[in-house]
Amino acid sequence: MQDKLLEVSNLITRFHTDDGVVTAVNNLSFSVNRGERVCIVGESGCGKSVTSMSIMRLLKTPPAEITGSIRFEGRDLLTLSRDEMGKIRGNEIAMIFQEPMTALNPVFTCGFQIAEVLRLHQGLSRAEAKARAVELMRMVGIPLPEKRVNSFPHQLSGGMRQRVMIAIALACQPKLLSADEPTTALDVTIQAQIMELIKELKERLNMGLILITHDMGVVAEMAERVIVMYAGDAVEEADVKTLFRNPMHPYTRGLLNSIPRLEDEREELTAIEGTVPGLFDMPKGCRFGPRCALCTERCVAEDPPLVDVGGNHKVRCFHAGGQEGAEYAES
């Protein structure tokens, strides 16, 4: 068995709001091996970002309440003190944010912000940290790093800013990198460059990677293992080839069907009917039930468990692999 870097078990993240308690992540378990690329995919509001925030303990508690365990190299992050957690953040687990426009501090130069992590965790001097920042900026492919080190974020393009974010994240050579839709705010050509960069640096530094996305194309390109989330639940988990060849959960199939194909003659895009249920009115039983063509009485009455159907392929559906499932796949 491979070496487990991060092991999340029974993670439940709830928010206590004025209108009641909402559950954003519902009993999620997964693990990331050293050097493995795991994608968490799902629609907006399915709890993917909350999951990554929970791992980093970036949610304010209260109103958030996190239970379960998040073991990183054997240590449960949820039981660490604030100071211990501070030493892990940015140093051993780093994060890339979705919006490079707002995640960089507008009043400091990019160089200063890269240098800050180094000074914080490695105790480098100002000059050392700055020289190292230049080096990192070169590593992430920023042209003229000696000049850009003194640029303010607003003087750089979106792609360059995201590269700065990556440089900040990688400065201390973390063991785990969590990227929350790192390319959503960028245009497509830049997106490909950034993804390529993340992949390449990940190999070079042998990091574990949690990539959060809603884009199946990105999943196909980046993931080794995929976790499909729906409304706070993991509904399917498999390695990327299995998932694309043999998707078992109706939701995963829906996601894959909604990717337009060139050879397809149809005019309209295939979409999954309906929307993600609101956090306040979660359906009983299977949460995907109301949008599912296969929904039966049992689906409404019972919450389907996440079952291993063999070969580390887990599905949360009563119909998985069954007759109806195959029919649905063909329709």
Binding site: D83, I88, T102, A103, V107, E116, L120, V149, Q173
Partner: protein, 303 residues
């Protein structure tokens, strides 16, 4: 990996490259450039430097004692001997202006600094931590705001015969509320922004996030309020001295000079015009300066 490991050897080379990088302006240089471009702000700054030098050097070189009564030159007209003439007790007006300026300027500056510090501290804590801290601090601020400033200062002033130091504290204690509310509202927005979260994600703790990430982003607003409050403090000091509860005669301040000029205004108008003009100039200069500093501090204003 090798890229990282060879850091030590590459350091010198890299530093050399950083040093020789093409036309780079450091952040401080960029800020100075922005400030210099703002003509009004430069005027304000120049005026202030001039006023301070004028007051300091002047008061050290004047041949007269500011409090010395000279019966022979009561209400003397401006002459070579007394450049601006004398007041109703025969004291040299220019000398009193210089000494009064020392008091007025330092009271103004000191109380602006003190109230800025107080206000920033309270606003920061309230805005960053929120919850009951915020509720408590803001209720306290509201209570201070409801205190009628002038009557209170007058009562305290007439009971205690205030020293300049005492005046500074009194003015600051009543003046920090604006800064506190401003800083709080800045922090309420700033703390929810991604870069505050990103700072936490790289392992920064509260203190560091406040000092290095949020405070610099509020600095523009704080500095502007502070410079405006220098003007306000000088006016407040003048008002109090004018009403007779601030700086006590015979010590000169621009405010109490205005007051004593009341009786001589008609015959020797300079006794009123000179301190009045100096107060006006100082307050204006600070307001101009604040405006320019706001532009200079914010790197996004670069064109």
């Amino acid at each position: 990996m090798s890229l990282f490991k060879s850091r030590k050897q590459k350091l010198a080379e890299l530093e050399a490259r950083v040093a020789s990088a093409p036309v780079v302006r450091t952040p401080a240089e960029q800020a100075w450039r922005r400030f210099r471009k703002n003509r009004l702000a430069m005027t304000g700054a120049g005026l202030l430097v001039f006023l301070v030098l004028f007051v300091v050097i002047g008061s050290l070189t004047t041949p007269y004692n500011p409090d010395m009564v000279d019966l022979m030159s009561i209400r003397a007209a401006p002459s070579a001997k007394h450049l601006l003439g004398c007041d109703d007790l025969g004291r040299d007006l220019l000398t009193r202006l210089l000494y009064g300026g020392r008091i007025s300027l330092s009271v103004g500056l000191a109380s602006a600094l003190l109230s800025m510090t107080l206000g920033t501290l309270i606003g920061t804590l309230a805005g960053y931590f929120g919850g009951w801290v915020d509720a408590f601090m803001m209720d306290f601020t509201d209570i201070v705001l409801t205190i009628p400033t002038l009557p209170l200062l007058m009562v305290v002033g007439s009971v205690f015969k205030p020293s300049p130091m005492f005046l500074v504290v009194m003015i600051s204690v009543l003046n920090w509320t604006t800064t506190a509310r401003l800083v709080r509202s800045r922090f309420l927005t700033l703390r929810t922004l991604d870069y505050a979260r990103a700072a936490r994600a790289i392992g920064a703790r509260n203190g560091r996030i406040i000092l290095f990430h949020l405070l610099p982003n509020s600095l523009g607003a704080i500095v502007v309020t502070a410079t405006l409050s220098v003007g306000r403090s000088i006016i407040m000091e003048s008002t109090l001295s004018y009403l007779g509860c601030g700086i006590n005669p015979p010590t000169a301040s621009w405010g109490n000079m205005l007051q004593s000029a009341q009786s001589t205004m008609a015959t020797a108008p300079l006794t009123a015009i000179a301190p009045g003009a100096l107060i006006l100039l100082t307050v204006l200069a600070f307001n101009f300066l604040g405006d320019g500093l706001d532009d200079a501090i914010d790197p996004r204003r670069e064109r």
